[in-house]
Symmetry: C2
Subunit: 220 residues, 2 copies
């Protein structure tokens, strides 16, 4: 599958490499076509790895991952051109974290409590089928759920398009070892308020555990 | 032990009855000394059960549970008299939930993201040793952790006083079947932003699960 990734940080690179290893073609998009991190990633990941602008990634892709910094996400989508996302499944991994007051982070005030970055992204990309997913775990665990507790832990997703959510579940199961029954669909994109809202808590538990390699299992 | 409970709703009554059943003396405090729910509770719970005003509960108690509605909590503490909490361990079970926009709830804006009700309560009761605890699970589970997954799930607590947190851990283990190793101390009272912040998420998972009898287990 042709997959575009917007964002060249640890999350974008980790997801990109994992998808290359599963046989997909990946274009890593950044603000400029000559981003050094993207060029280095492309050089290390073989002929299925490409890089370009945000727009290049959106145009190239059948399916798109958003791995952008929360503060720059909306601007990046505008650079990419919202028409280039039309009808495509977009997996939104972004978190609107605000580290400006130190640790633990808070949320950017404009994307806290009664509005979320996920909702804003769906609003910006009105014809796209956005699914909020993977933003509640660390990058290495995103791409290999089996690294924690034999994959017995939960991912919380949401979005407005049920078919898109099913496609994302399938993709995460096929490529990243997530057990479909452990992927819990909380509802429409409004629930991004919840799955983004628990990320400052996640950072606090990370501090308490002394590792980012953990997740939650809902038990009854 | 003489325990005061501020708040006569399901949480206050459930905790009160559980403590009576463990042999404690409990005074259930409300806005007026003739609150009908408190009188009914007292009549049903034997000679160790008492009721009175918020102030009566604070004066009576060696240890205090706050089981107040988020919107009325600060007002209730002012009625009770902050000097009556001096040096006492106060277990803050409150959540600043805002249901005015329907389900799922958000947080009251004044207690969201960068400030919490737990921090406000510690500020109001400056000489008290406030521990935020139990607010992340349903009332029946608060008082009997063994009702879910053989008590293998986590409680997240925080507060500024380490000795008070240890006393609360001990009390929850002795009376409510919480395994001490499953009670995770996230840090000082600032972390109430996190443990209150995950409650709208909890409501969303409750909707998804179809029951409130669940909790999270941190797995590695």
């Amino acid at each position: 599958m042709k997959i575009g990734i917007l964002g060249t940080g640890a999350v974008g690179q980790t997801i990109g490499t994992a998808l290359i290893n599963k046989g997909h073609e990946v274009l890593l998009g950044s603000r400029t076509a000559t981003n050094q991190k993207a060029l280095a990633w492309t050089a290390q990941n073989g002929s299925n790895a490409k890089n370009g602008t945000f727009e290049d990634a959106a145009v190239f892709a059948e399916l798109i991952f958003l791995c952008l910094n929360g503060t720059g996400a909306v601007d990046a989508l505008q650079q990419a051109g919202s028409h280039n996302f039309s009808r495509k499944v977009v997996i939104d991994v972004t978190n609107p974290l605000d580290f400006s007051h130190g640790m633990p982070p808070s949320l950017l005030p404009e994307y806290s409590n009664s509005w979320s970055l996920g909702e804003e992204i769906q609003k910006q990309l009105e014809d796209a089928r956005v699914v909020k997913a993977l933003n509640t775990v660390t990058a290495k665990l995103m791409v290999n759920a089996a690294l924690v507790n034999d994959a017995n832990h939960n991912l919380f997703i949401c979005g407005n398009d049920i078919d898109a959510k099913n496609k994302v579940k399938h993709l995460l199961a096929e490529n990243f070892n997530w057990k479909p029954e452990n992927i819990l669909d909380l509802g429409d994109m409004k629930y991004a308020r919840m799955t983004e809202g628990i990320v400052p808590f996640w950072v606090s538990v990370m501090q308490q555990q002394g590792t980012a390699m953990f997740n939650y299992l809902v038990v009854r």
